[in-house]
């Protein structure tokens, strides 16, 4: 793997066969197949996907050069990682922003959810704070100091509903089993759980500026931010066939972003300084 990594960074100019490994958390999504085929035919690059079920793993693996790139997180998560682990991974390409909707099969609006009902949110660091912010916008809870990208359930100040954090893949199931009145469901799970689009009763606005930290990105080691092959591979994501796959996956809710690498890196720096400030508070 280490060898692959160095050879790929060196030989970006030629069409000699190469292997690039990408750490992901959703290797099962069909669009990755499309992506792999494309990389092969266009650049003669074999994409090796390394699927991690735990978010804590892909960044260290990338940092140690065990993968060449990864694509599973948004800037917000990356910033948190860099700060807490004293690392310096960098985004090299944007993919999309996924709205994080609140679903309910029983109630038509957030306001009609009865007091004291149970609401599920994802429990992983990537989605928990964001889910809480969504609930706050929906006026179901308020967070200490208005909340931030690092809020946890213990930062809930007042609440109209009882919030339970579950594995991201379980919130849809909990909703369908009737265990909760409403649930924050990541779009990919919502699609797979066949939740109706109309059941999304509230979501944050993916196109707003406040959504900037939630742009998902391809991430590389700092030394690779100019690697042309990696940049090409990041761009490859926005091929129509891949985007179509992603849309199917997310029921058409993904908002694609093509923010430049430099802008992404700037955004990262901003969020990182916020994170440092939050941590030292």
């Amino acid at each position: 793997n280490r060898n692959n990594s160095s050879s790929s960074s060196a030989g970006a100019t030629t069409n000699a066969p190469q292997t690039v490994s990408i750490g992901v958390a959703d290797a099962a999504s069909p669009y990755w197949k499309t992506y792999q085929d494309l990389a092969k035919s266009k650049y003669n690059v074999t994409i090796k996907l390394v699927n991690f079920t735990d978010y804590s793993q892909p960044n260290p693996a990338l940092s140690q050069g065990q993968t060449d790139l990864n694509e599973f997180q948004h800037i917000q998560y990356l910033a948190n990682y860099n700060v807490t682990s004293h690392d310096d991974l960098q985004p090299i390409g944007a993919t999309a922003v996924y709205p994080l909707p609140l679903y309910s099969t029983k109630y038509k609006a957030a306001s009609s959810i009865p007091d004291g009902s149970a609401v599920a949110i994802p429990n992983d660091a990537v989605n928990e704070a964001r889910g809480l912010l969504v609930l706050q916008s929906a006026k179901l809870i308020t967070l200490k100091d208005g909340g931030n990208a690092f809020s946890t359930v213990s930062d809930i100040e007042t609440h109209k509903v009882d919030v339970t954090a579950l594995d991201a893949s379980q919130t849809a199931g909990a909703l369908q089993a009737g265990s909760v009145a409403a649930a924050i469901v990541n779009q990919n799970y919502a699609t797979q759980a066949k939740l109706a689009k109309t059941d999304a009763i509230f979501k944050d606005d993916p196109s707003s500026a406040s959504a900037a930290p939630y742009v998902n990105v391809f991430v590389a080691q700092k030394k690779d931010i100019t690697n042309p092959l990696y940049l090409k591979l990041a761009a490859l994501y926005h091929t129509a066939s891949v985007e179509k796959g992603v849309e199917t996956q997310n029921n058409g809710t993904a908002v694609f972003r093509t923010t430049s690498a430099a802008d992404l890196q700037k955004e990262l720096a901003t969020v990182e300084s916020q994170a440092k400030a939050a941590a030292s508070k």
Partner: protein, 219 residues
């Protein structure tokens, strides 16, 4: 550290959740697993109520359920969980899932503990006219008590370990806390403190187990 302190209430709750889940599972799985394990043991060919059919069926059932990954198991039993607990999320639901899953593991441990019992003592009990039920309660369990207690200590640790996966369905607990507030946030002090707490909990359990086993084995 600050982060840990600011979440100390969650941590305390997590301790209670773990204690709750582990306690419930130990009791429920302890009983169901004991029954199932004894059934496996006595129906084993050549034993007290040897019955190849029942043995094979039980054996296959245990073998089907045990290897199902816990994440999937939890989801698969959702309908049952709803019926029994009323909800599929939270510590109670997690305790239910844990109890069921652990029952099958316990059954194997029980079976294994009983297998070493000298057939002669069972014969002595049969000779005085004791029925299978009485033999189970008054002979099998006491005679296998040493290994049984060590086996339950083993399962205790296993359940604590499994309870770390309770977070999947919002069961909380220390394991989930260590992951959600610790490793996923790359916050190692939280991980250390939490793991240390788990370890202390387990040590207490295991020491109790060892102590009881020593009493039972009288050495």
């Amino acid at each position: 550290m600050d982060f840990f302190l600011s979440n100390i209430d969650v941590f305390v709750t997590a301790i209670w959740q773990t204690l709750f889940m582990v306690f419930v599972s130990m009791v429920v799985a302890g009983i169901i697993g004991l029954a199932l394990g004894i059934a496996l043991y006595i129906t084993r060919p050549g034993n007290l109520l040897s019955n190849r059919t029942v043995f094979t069926v039980l054996n296959v059932i245990v073998n089907i359920i045990r290897p199902i990954p816990f994440v999937i198991f939890i989801t698969a039993i959702n309908p049952l969980t709803t019926k029994v607990v009323g909800t599929t999320i939270g510590p109670s639901a997690a305790a239910f899932a844990l109890s069921l899953a652990a029952s099958f593991a316990v059954s194997r441990i029980v079976e294994q503990s009983l297998v070493g019992i000298e057939p002669g003592v069972i014969e002595a009990a049969r000779a005085v006219g004791a029925g299978p039920w009485r033999i189970i309660v008054t002979i099998l369990i006491p005679e296998g008590l040493g290994p049984l207690i060590l086996g339950y200590s083993f399962i205790f640790v296993g359940i604590v370990d499994m309870s770390a996966q309770a977070g999947i369905i919002g069961g909380g607990g220390l394991g989930d806390f260590a992951v959600a507030y610790g490793s996923q946030r790359y916050n190692w002090p939280v991980v250390y403190i939490t793991v240390a707490t788990i370890v202390v909990l387990v040590q207490l359990g295991q020491f109790l187990g060892n102590y009881l086993a020593r009493k039972a084995l009288r050495r």
